[in-house]
């Protein structure tokens, strides 16, 4: 109702957003690999209040994952090399989705493969599932048919996998970009041109830690993905640069744990944000951010959180 004052507006009026034609109750989502298949969080947070859940990365077939050790804490963050262990797309739609779709949070399966065909196969399986809002493509996996470098490393390969998925998907496709590239703007432009409906960024930054007593890497996989507050400035910079390069909406990810963190991303150009590693050490962080966002809108006279997106001031 247009004659409502901002104080009278409900959190939903203030926070609802639309991305790629999908309406989300609010711009706070949980990030892939940091909330299981969503259901595991239900005992701790109200899934009806969350904007969306990005599931653990799903492949066409189940994957066993890496040997331990898989995680190690670093300063202000953690390294992980889980190895994309997952139950497979088919088990997800049979066992998890029917329970998950009972909640208001939109369901966004995160999808990966080691070849373009594997991405297509996983999407085809997920197309059978009901109650899926869209897909998020993790393109940070090695492309085994093209020398084993990650799809994300080469804008051409990133575009190729995006276009291939776009052709078989009836649902919006969000492409998740990696910070481990020379130019995030070039990656963003390439996947936008290939038909991506939105971008999410960033995935983890590749890192490594060494045990000085044994002189061994602290992770069995040697290297791992760095996440948590330590990567936030890199992520804000990536969102800012991508937002200036493309017209499609951007979803910000990287070290978000508080309302201030979320606001930084939104001001830098993100239409929505995902809470990742914070779910591990502060499982209710997403709920606190949702409460804080509505308060911020009221305090700053915003009729909708959308008014804040990309309002970063660069004037002197």
């Amino acid at each position: 109702m247009s004659n409502q004052t901002i104080e009278e507006k409900s959190p939903t009026d203030l926070l609802a957003i639309e991305i790629a034609g999908i309406r989300f109750p609010n711009p706070i989502w949980t990030a892939s690999g940091t909330c299981g298949y969503g259901l595991d969080m239900a005992e701790l947070i109200d899934l009806d209040r969350l904007g969306a859940i990005c599931t653990k990365g799903l492949s066409a077939r189940p994957l066993r994952g890496n040997p331990p050790w898989r995680i190690v804490e670093t300063h202000g963050g953690m390294l992980n090399a889980i190895g994309l262990q997952n139950i497979g797309a088919r088990a997800f739609i049979n066992e998890k989705l029917p329970l998950l779709r009972r909640y208001q949070a939109r369901v966004i399966p995160n999808v990966f493969g080691y070849t373009i065909d594997e991405y297509i196969e996983a999407i085809r399986i997920l197309e059978d599932g009901e109650g899926i809002a869209g897909y998020e493509l993790n393109i940070s996996c090695p492309n085994v048919k093209a020398g084993g470098e990650s799809f994300a490393n080469d804008p051409r390969q990133a575009a190729e996998v995006t276009a291939a998925v776009r052709r078989v998907s009836t649902r919006p496709v969000i492409v998740k970009l990696s910070p481990n590239v020379t130019s995030i703007a070039a990656s963003a432009l390439a996947v936008e041109a290939a038909g991506a409906d939105a971008l999410s960024l960033i995935n983890t930054a590749i890192g490594m830690a060494v045990d000085v007593n044994t002189r061994r890497p602290r992770l069995a996989n040697v290297t791992g993905g760095l996440s948590g507050p330590a990567i936030k400035p890199i992520a804000v910079r990536c969102v800012f640069q991508a937002a200036r390069a493309v017209r499609i909406p951007i979803i910000g990810i990287g070290g978000i744990a508080t309302i201030i963190d979320a606001l930084e991303f939104i001001i830098a150009g993100a239409s929505a944000v995902q809470v990742g590693t914070a779910n591990f050490y502060d499982p209710t962080a997403s709920m606190k951010i949702i409460d804080g966002l509505a308060d911020y809108c009221r305090q700053h006279g915003l009729r909708s959180i959308g008014e804040l997106v990309g309002t970063i001031r660069l004037d002197q």
Binding site: P68, V72, E73, F280
Partner: protein
Amino acid sequence: MIDTIARVEENELTESASRRRYGRLRLRIKVPIAVQPGQFAMIRPHAGEEPLLRRAMAFHRADRQGDHLLAEFIYQIVGRGTEALARLRINDEVDLLGPLGNTFDLGETAGTEALLVAGGAGSPALHMLAGQLNARAIPTRFFIGGASSGDLCALADFIELLGAERVTTATIDGSRGVTGFVTAPLEAAIARLERPAVIYACGPDPMLHRVARIAAESNLPAQLSLEAPMACGFGICVGCAVPVRHDCPEGFIYQKVCTDGPVFRSETLAW
């Protein structure tokens, strides 16, 4: 499982002759959560972000006091997270997520004897179990090993619960009990068993491997409480993988220590 802020009632630090340091942390939780033997909590100081991730600690005690719970943890100080716990003062706040994990299965103890085996800071995970076995009048013996007498965590609590005659100690430096590893007196006791027995163990991996072998050789069931690096403690990060036997070409799959465990039957493990 709840996520709450608990308050420190006591945090007593000790150091053993082997220079290892330990803390005994008593927390008041303002929710009367029900804790089962073998379960754990993820804890860290509430103030600040050091460490970022909470650390897994077994409930040593969990006593109801009206609508509160008094919980006790015993921790060995081994790194950043436990150093941060050691700095906690009375009345400080602690983030606590719990209770987490499965519990020891007492189903197979009827008519048997329980042999509890702890290495170093593994004993807290067995203390509530000892209490429950005692309450059910199941004959229980406790074996604990460590580098030196000061490393036999919570020894006095087990003696109080079971009586000194049911507690066997082993130390590497010979400062208390048998000299050497705890698995030696365990094997000797198994050789003299008069009825079937069930083994329950918690401690460093090498000790658990040895216990698993002894259990297999003597045809006794063993339940082992495992440790793994954990980011979340409630099943969402998949960081705490342990290989478990499975009917597939590779012969195993990874399960989660936090939600499938921490207690596993030794014969199911593929390590």
